[in-house]
């Protein structure tokens, strides 16, 4: 058995209730590692031939919860959640920090492969080498905090009963969905704790479509053996050293960018991206720290960085709001993007978004989109049910709740920015797609391309196989394609990007070898495994369906990213269209895709992807 892996995946068919075990050969694991790349393989093997017809919100879709070989050895636990995305109709691998990863591996599973649809609401309970499907009718419809409380209590009591003699039992780790997930929203997240989530992709809606409210996991065994424990111990210590030295990140988390990305790099969404600059000092991380932080360092299993914070509004009209962080993305999307520049307001809207079970980025994006339509009098008080003025946390929070319940206008907005824009354009007879800041169905992360001063290149979102995902941006360099090919390693080994960034890639590859016993070189990763991963994701994205399909012309930034910046240090500047075209050409070439961005036959054959090549024939026509 390969080292670092538990050796089996639980295959759960919710329609029949049948639970089996799936194992992969060493050869497959060497080629696909785990997480994102292995997910692409599983999805292609099982759904590839009928991809176009698979409804992401239908029982035929497969929901994957995967670890990787390095998960929970490399400091900082994480799982990768994926399937066919109801946002892009491709494959978006979304990862989240959670104890679920450790619990899965110590329960004897590398991941869960969930298919079908339960007759009535259920949750899955995983314990040592055992998977059970439990009734969740009484939890269905509950908001995020209520759901987490109910599942944690119920499953812990059950384990306490079973293992009474062993002593006090710790709580199982839980993945869950809120009302947005129950109601199959395309922008619902798979949630963890208060506000972490797998947001990109819309897998909360996929869980909801399967009548699956939560997944609770508790293992009690040791982590699987590794190739070389003494080397792993030494490397854990080195990773600690790098992460402990990453002081700014530890102290402030990505929240430090809440002021700097607005003020310095001028690339933060302000009022649905109408601006990308602000110099609002009330919105600095120092204000969050003093006014709302309840914990300075907060983190998930094994994390040396603990960049998360915990925020609570203790008094005033917004009293009682609780959220993780807010990190930079949620400071931007539930704050500046809605014209909110007070920490308390941001925490309040975030708490509403996560209680509804929405993704912080997709949710904040659609709220901003609705805000702009209200500003332009395209959506009115009558459409929304109340006034939706920039800077009003209560109004935006109320709209988040409506989206979660699919109530009134919330029903349209629950479809996500891309689809809602099409529907509202039709309904109102005005083209509102130009206000939709999204790429191929996925709302864009809170880093704009216009100022050219942020880390995202002009093709970050246009060429990414995960579309708007700011943690998977495409990038071309003279050394070759990087961006999502580099960061894709963390999604595949399933480790945290923020515990990997301060650590040299060579140390990460060394870590992989100490765990698995298998050599990994940059040539093998960039020239083979990563290329295979993006080619499979790209092919799935191009085939798409059933509701939306993408043409080569859709490899574009949203229209707003070509409007001149109205303010800030780069006033008047915009994304250079010619540069986008040039970089796109170079990128396609570098990853072995043709001038339209379709993976070439020769590339796919070299990577051993003949079936993917065959499936792409209809796209090439």
């Amino acid at each position: 058995m390969p080292r670092g892996y538990a050796g089996k995946f639980a295959d759960i068919d919710l329609t029949t209730g049948r639970i089996t075990e799936t194992k992969f050969s060493d050869e497959v694991l060497r080629q696909y590692v785990g997480g994102r790349a292995l997910a692409a393989k599983i999805l292609w093997d099982r759904l590839g031939e009928k991809w176009e017809k698979v409804d992401p919100l239908g029982p035929e879709n497969i929901l994957l919860v995967l670890t990787g070989p390095m998960t929970c050895y490399y400091p900082g636990a994480r799982v990768c959640v994926t399937g066919k995305s109801p946002q892009s109709n491709g494959i978006i691998a979304s990862t989240v920090a959670t104890e679920v990863a450790m619990e899965l591996k110590t329960a004897g599973y590398d991941g869960l492969i969930i298919s079908g649809k339960a007759k009535s609401p259920v949750y899955i309970l995983v314990t040592d080498n055992k998977v059970e499907i439990k009734d969740a009718k009484h939890i269905w419809g509950k908001n995020g905090q209520q759901t987490l409380r109910a599942v944690t209590k119920e499953t812990r009591e059950e384990l306490q009963k079973r293992l009474k003699k062993r002593g006090l039992q710790k709580e199982p780790a839980v993945l869950y969905i809120g009302p947005a997930g129950d109601n199959k929203s395309r922008i619902a997240a798979v949630m963890v704790k208060w506000a972490h989530g797998c947001g990109y992709g819309g897998y909360g809606g996929v869980m909801g479509s399967k009548n699956l409210k939560a997944i609770a996991v508790k293992g009690s065994g040791p982590m699987p053996d590794v190739a070389d424990w003494s080397k792993v111990r030494e490397l854990i210590d080195r990773v600690y050293e790098f992460c402990f030295a990453n002081d700014g990140m530890r102290r402030w988390g990505t929240g430090a960018a809440g002021y700097s990305v607005g003020a310095e790099t001028s690339s933060e969404p302000v009022r649905n991206w109408q601006e990308e600059w602000h110099d609002e000092r009330s919105y600095g991380v120092d204000k969050f720290e003093r006014k709302v932080w309840a914990k300075r360092y907060w983190g998930d299993q094994g994390c040396p960085t603990t960049c998360e914070k915990l925020s609570v509004v203790r008094e005033g009209p917004l009293k009682g709001a609780i959220t993780d962080n807010p990190d930079y993305e949620t400071q931007a999307y539930a704050g500046t993007n809605l014209g909110i520049f007070q920490p308390e307001g941001d925490v309040y809207v975030n708490a509403a978004i996560e209680n509804a079970g929405l993704c912080g980025i997709q949710g904040g994006n659609i709220l901003g989109f609705a805000g702009e339509l209200y500003q332009r009098k395209i959506l009115t008080k009558k459409d929304i049910g109340f006034d939706l003025k920039w800077g009003d946390p209560k109004a935006f929070a109320a709209l988040a709740e409506k989206i979660g319940r699919r109530e009134g206008i919330g029903d349209i907005l629950a479809e996500g920015t891309y689809r809602a824009a099409l529907k509202i354009s039709k309904m109102k007879g005005v083209d509102v797609t130009k206000y939709a800041v999204q790429a191929k169905g996925v709302a864009i992360g809170a880093h704009g391309t216009r100022s050219g001063m942020d880390y995202v290149t002009p093709i970050a979102y246009t060429c990414s196989v995960q579309s708007g995902d700011h943690t998977s941006p495409a990038a071309w360099t003279p050394e070759g394609p990087r961006g999502e090919l580099s960061w894709g390693f963390t999604d595949t080994a399933v480790i945290c990007l923020f515990n990997a960034m301060p650590v040299p890639e060579s140390v990460q590859f060394e870590f992989y070898k100490a765990v698995t016993g298998w050599e990994l070189t940059p040539e093998k990763w960039y020239g083979e495994i990563a290329l295979r991963m993006v080619a499979m994701q790209r092919a799935a994205l191009l085939i798409g369906g059933p509701d939306a399909k993408w043409k080569p012309a859709d490899d574009e930034n949203p229209p707003r990213f070509y409007e001149p910046l109205p303010s800030g240090p780069k006033k008047g500047q915009t994304t250079d269209k010619a540069k986008v075209a040039e970089l796109k050409r170079k990128y396609y070439e570098a990853v072995g895709w043709d001038e339209k961005g379709i993976p070439r036959s020769s590339t796919l054959k070299k990577l051993g992807l003949e079936s993917v090549d065959k499936a792409l024939e209809k796209v090439r026509k």
């Binding site: 400091p75 110590t106 987490l148 006090l168 710790k170 424990w229 009682g320 609780i322």
Partner: protein
């Protein structure tokens, strides 16, 4: 010593403990176990080394002894009959039966150099630290059940109203 409010919930202490005692990563065998019954209210749960050692008194086979020099309780696994009496005798239900050998398991302060404390201070979380042993009854105050500690911490963090809804 411990300060619950500082705990980041990162559980690097569990990793350090199990690597030291088990030679591998094994959170459920870690002598320090972090409970997270409500997110934010993390409770690092470990032996408080009470002055009156109720666990020792409860053991029917004298498997538990007191090491005067290092101020710690020791379990003789060969003698232990897995009866769980020490668990119920402990006011905090701290001991547990090891998931591997099914024997009572209690923190032994790593022979004077506790690994959990080491990593917690190195990572600047400062939740755990050691103090010289004094004949104080106060150690026993930390022998509390995690459910109770969670409720109190949640009130401190979230206010009594919200705490009631969340715990």
């Amino acid at each position: 010593m411990r300060d619950y409010r500082q705990c980041s919930g990162c559980r690097t202490c569990e990793v350090a403990c199990s690597l030291y005692h088990e030679g591998k990563i094994w959170p459920e065998a870690s002598r320090i176990r972090v409970f997270m019954l409500v997110p934010g209210a993390e409770v690092p749960h470990l032996c408080a080394q009470c002055h009156d050692y109720p666990c020792l008194k409860s053991c029917p086979v004298d498997a538990i002894s007191w090491d005067e020099k290092l101020g710690r309780v020791l379990v003789d696994k060969k003698k232990c009959i897995s009866c769980s009496k020490c668990i119920t005798a402990c006011p905090g239900n701290v001991p547990f039966l090891h998931p591997g050998d099914n024997k009572a398991t209690i923190c032994n302060l790593c022979d004077g150099d506790p690994q959990c404390v080491k990593i917690c201070l190195r990572g600047r979380w400062n939740t755990l630290w050691t103090v010289p042993r004094t004949p104080s009854f106060n150690y026993r105050l930390y022998a509390k059940k995690p459910d109770q500690v969670t409720k109190e911490l949640a009130e401190n963090l979230y206010g009594s109203q919200r705490a009631k809804e969340l715990t």
